[in-house]
């Protein structure tokens, strides 16, 4: 569950993560994978190929608007004869996607002047908040930081215990109250205690909530207000956790969570299936949130900073089979 030694060694191998990422992102009969180059090799660019690209973008949940925007720019370049062949077309698609995502590839920097650096983790139900916190805690403790986890999900049964297991596995301190407690009170106490103990990073879990439930969004605002009462600059990071399996609604989630408490970064989870998480492209275009981490597996190590080039490459290059990228 939490990864054995051999598994953590895997990440040490140079390029290991990239390779795994690419292998996992392209599992299954997914879009723009091995076959794209073969499918179109040697063919002139025609409407069919552009349609095929459209289909693949749509099937990756990129969404109608972003897909149209991306294809429009490609079509124009085809019309201007800037793209000689299909290879050039695919290179142009890769460039366009990277251009959209690259500004969002801003890693999470823990500013040491904030002690503790407070990370509030939010998202809809089942997006993977608690697991992401556990993985991030492990990562931070490995880097030698002292971490505390605050069990702000006091609603779902056993959510506190679930986080506690992660705290133990990562060697993080743990702050919790009884089930049903006010989440504001939990994070308030946690922040004071983290301060007193000189903890570097405090991560606060919150209950999953649908963004259209205004009373639950109000509760989140209260959590933020309470944090500010202890430290005016907190929270220093508000991470919105998005499930790569989600479709167009993820955009609405991003908009509304941002409106309520101000999102400062995204975590994209469950990229190890066949879902592509293409909605982040739409989110990147609309909102430009930094994408901090992606989750590509169940092990604590399967959690890495977002890298736009690797992400796009993993999606559209020929992958490990031809070893085109490294």
């Amino acid at each position: 569950m939490f990864g054995s030694e051999s598994k953590s060694e895997r990440t040490e191998a140079p390029g290991g993560f990239l390779k795994r990422l690419r292998a996992r992102l392209n599992r299954g009969n997914s879009w723009l994978t091995l076959d794209i180059a073969e499918l179109v090799r040697g063919r002139a660019i025609d409407a069919d190929i552009l349609d095929e690209l459209e289909t693949r973008l749509l099937a990756a949940d990129v969404g109608v608007e972003a897909t149209q925007h991306i294809l429009e720019s490609l079509r124009q370049r085809v019309a201007r004869r800037e793209l000689a062949d299909v290879d050039a077309l695919i290179a142009a698609l890769r460039a366009t996607l990277t251009e959209i995502l690259a500004p969002c590839a801003r890693p999470l920097v823990i500013d040491p002047t904030h002690r503790p650096f407070v990370i509030l983790v939010v998202g809809v139900n089942g997006s993977g908040k608690t697991t992401s916190i556990g993985k991030l805690a492990k990562r931070l403790t490995r880097e030698g930081k002292s971490v505390m986890l605050a069990a702000g999900d006091t609603f779902r049964s056993a959510a506190v215990e679930q986080l506690e297991v992660w705290a133990m596995a990562s060697g993080a301190a743990f702050a919790a109250q009884q089930a049903g407690a006010d989440p504001g009170a939990v994070v308030f106490d946690a922040l004071q205690s983290a301060r007193a103990r000189g903890i570097d990073v405090l991560m606060a879990d919150t209950a999953g909530r649908l963004h259209n439930q205004s009373h639950l969004m109000a509760e989140l605002k209260k959590v933020r207000r309470v944090l500010k009462r202890v430290d005016q600059s907190a929270p220093h990071e508000v991470l919105l956790v998005l499930d790569a399996n989600q479709g167009q609604n993820a955009l609405a989630q991003a908009v509304q969570f941002h409106e309520a408490i101000g999102v400062t970064g995204l975590v994209l989870t469950k990229l190890d299936g066949t879902a592509k998480g293409g909605i982040v492209i739409a989110i990147a275009r609309k909102l430009g949130f930094p994408i901090r981490f992606i989750g590509i597996g169940e092990q604590a190590e399967d959690f890495e900073p977002f890298d736009a080039q690797a992400f796009v490459a993993a999606l559209i290059e020929s992958g490990p089979k031809t070893g085109a990228a490294s």
């Binding site: 009969n29 749509l58 099937a59 809809v124 049964s157 215990e161 439930q213 167009q248 469950k270």
Partner: protein, 446 residues
């Protein structure tokens, strides 16, 4: 967010008016709009393709009746087709097998299996008077077993906790033995979330199914799922001979196109829908409503149901009586009503559920929400006496209230004027059809 499909189709089908019949030519643009709308609703591409073919076949040659707008006629065809595709032989459960009937839940991580297990247990206990045993074979997610054990306690089901270090298959087998020994009617087996491409875990869930010979094998899928839902559904369908689908988190504002996709690729009916965080928020699937929602036609029925869920019935009855008598409705009651609007997710959420025509008003939802908040603030700045007897509010009191609520005196005046209008309206309706309306409504309150 997106322009409503009805509105778009009304525009694009306008030129059908007067043509008499729908032809391939004059419908092409409308079908493109349908495709976009379905993509925005997360219906999977292959499913959209076959749906559009089917609609086209039905629509071609259809007479555009003179009395209806062509757009409405076309939407009618769309809606009927979608209802037909999503409808199943049944909603709910078949409980006729030999007890203990075993229900197996499977799906991706975070789909909502554990919550659904508890909701199903509660449904079966309360509606069907069954004795239910719950068990969890999720040994991978920390505290997953504890989560279901606690939920079991909440809903009044028994929980089977296996000795530690047992495999999921062993747990399931032992739970079945326990269900037999304890003469339970139903055993619900929760499983760990798994990726459909994880062969080892897919084999594991098949093994669990074989061991407990489940009579219901339900695929649990998130209403917010995107295009990939069909890949997951197909794989789970190939691994387990699914008997049905549970659509979760349907209380969100996702259009829920995954419902149509998953229904299509598995060929299995959607039996239940999760519509909230509490364990009683489970409803039989209703294809009519889901079709309206996917097509962006609003969901008035769910609005009514949400009102019924959120509005406490005592409070509603009390106010209904006051309204029916035509007197006694005071500003404190008005505040209660305004707070209900907020509890229901605010104006924006309410307007979202209304069909296009009603939803697009001069006042934006946000303005509405601000107004509701302001009015509550004004009433909060009044004394108890002022709330009961607004007649005593003179100029000086108005200034004090305005200051307290941080608004202008005109805002206070406007609220009081509106309140007077409401009272007058209630008096005029006294004994009239409003009472009958309220009576009918009362019967439907929980």
């Amino acid at each position: 967010m997106f322009e409503n499909l009805s509105a778009r189709l009304t525009r694009t089908t306008e030129k059908l008016r007067g043509r008499g019949r729908i032809t391939e030519d004059n419908i092409a643009e409308a079908l493109r709009e349908v495709r976009v709308a379905l993509l925005e609703a997360d219906v999977a591409l292959p499913v959209i393709k076959s749906f559009i073919e089917a609609v086209k076949a039905k629509a071609l040659g259809a007479e555009v009746s003179a009395s209806l707008s062509p757009g409405q006629a076309f939407i009618g065809i769309l809606h009927r087709e979608m209802v037909e595709l999503m409808g199943g032989a049944r909603a709910g459960f078949s409980l006729r097998a030999q007890p203990p009937i075993v229900v197996l839940l499977a799906g991706l991580q975070g789909a909502g299996k554990t919550t659904t297990a508890a909701k199903l247990a509660r449904w079966l206990i309360e509606r069907e008077k069954k004795r239910v045993l719950l068990t969890s074979t999720d040994i991978s997610r920390p505290a997953a077993i504890l989560q279901l054990e606690r939920l079991a306690g909440e809903v009044g089901a028994q929980f089977f906790r296996a000795p530690p270090a047992q495999s999921p298959a062993e747990i399931a087998r032992a739970a079945l033995d326990e269900a037999r020994r304890g003469v339970f009617d139903i055993l619900i087996v929760d499983t760990a979330g798994r990726l459909h491409v994880d062969e080892a875990l897919m084999a594991e869930v098949r093994q669990i199914d074989a061991l407990v010979s489940a009579s219901e094998r339900l695929f649990v899928v998130d209403a917010m799922a995107g295009q990939d839902a069909i890949n997951a559904a197909r794989a789970f369908g190939a691994t387990l001979d699914l008997t049905g689908i549970v659509l979760t988190k349907a209380d969100g504002d996702a259009r829920g196109g995954a419902a149509l996709s998953v229904r299509q690729v598995t060929g299995k009916p959607i039996v239940f829908m999760g519509v909230g965080e509490k364990t009683d928020a489970l409803e039989p699937f209703d294809p009519e409503r889901m079709a309206s929602r996917i097509l962006g036609m609003g969901d008035v029925v769910s609005l009514v149901e949400q009102v019924q869920r959120e509005v406490t019935s005592d409070e509603a009855t009390r106010i209904a009586q006051k309204v029916a008598r035509g007197k006694g409705f005071d500003l404190a009651d008005l505040k209660g009503q305004l707070e209900q609007v907020q509890k229901l997710g605010g104006m924006s959420s309410l307007l979202d559920k209304l069909p296009a025509a009603a939803g697009r008003r001069a006042v934006s939802a946000d303005q509405g929400d601000r107004e509701v908040r302001r009015q509550i603030a004004i009433i909060n700045s009044m004394t108890q006496r002022e709330r009961r007897q607004p007649g005593v509010i003179d100029g000086s009191r108005r200034r004090r209230i305005a200051g307290g609520a941080g608004v202008q005196v005109q805002d206070v005046n406007r609220l009081l004027k509106q309140f007077q209008d409401m009272q007058r309206m209630m008096k005029s309706m006294k004994g009239g059809h409003l009472r009958r309306l309220m009576g009918a409504f009362k019967g439907r309150l929980p």
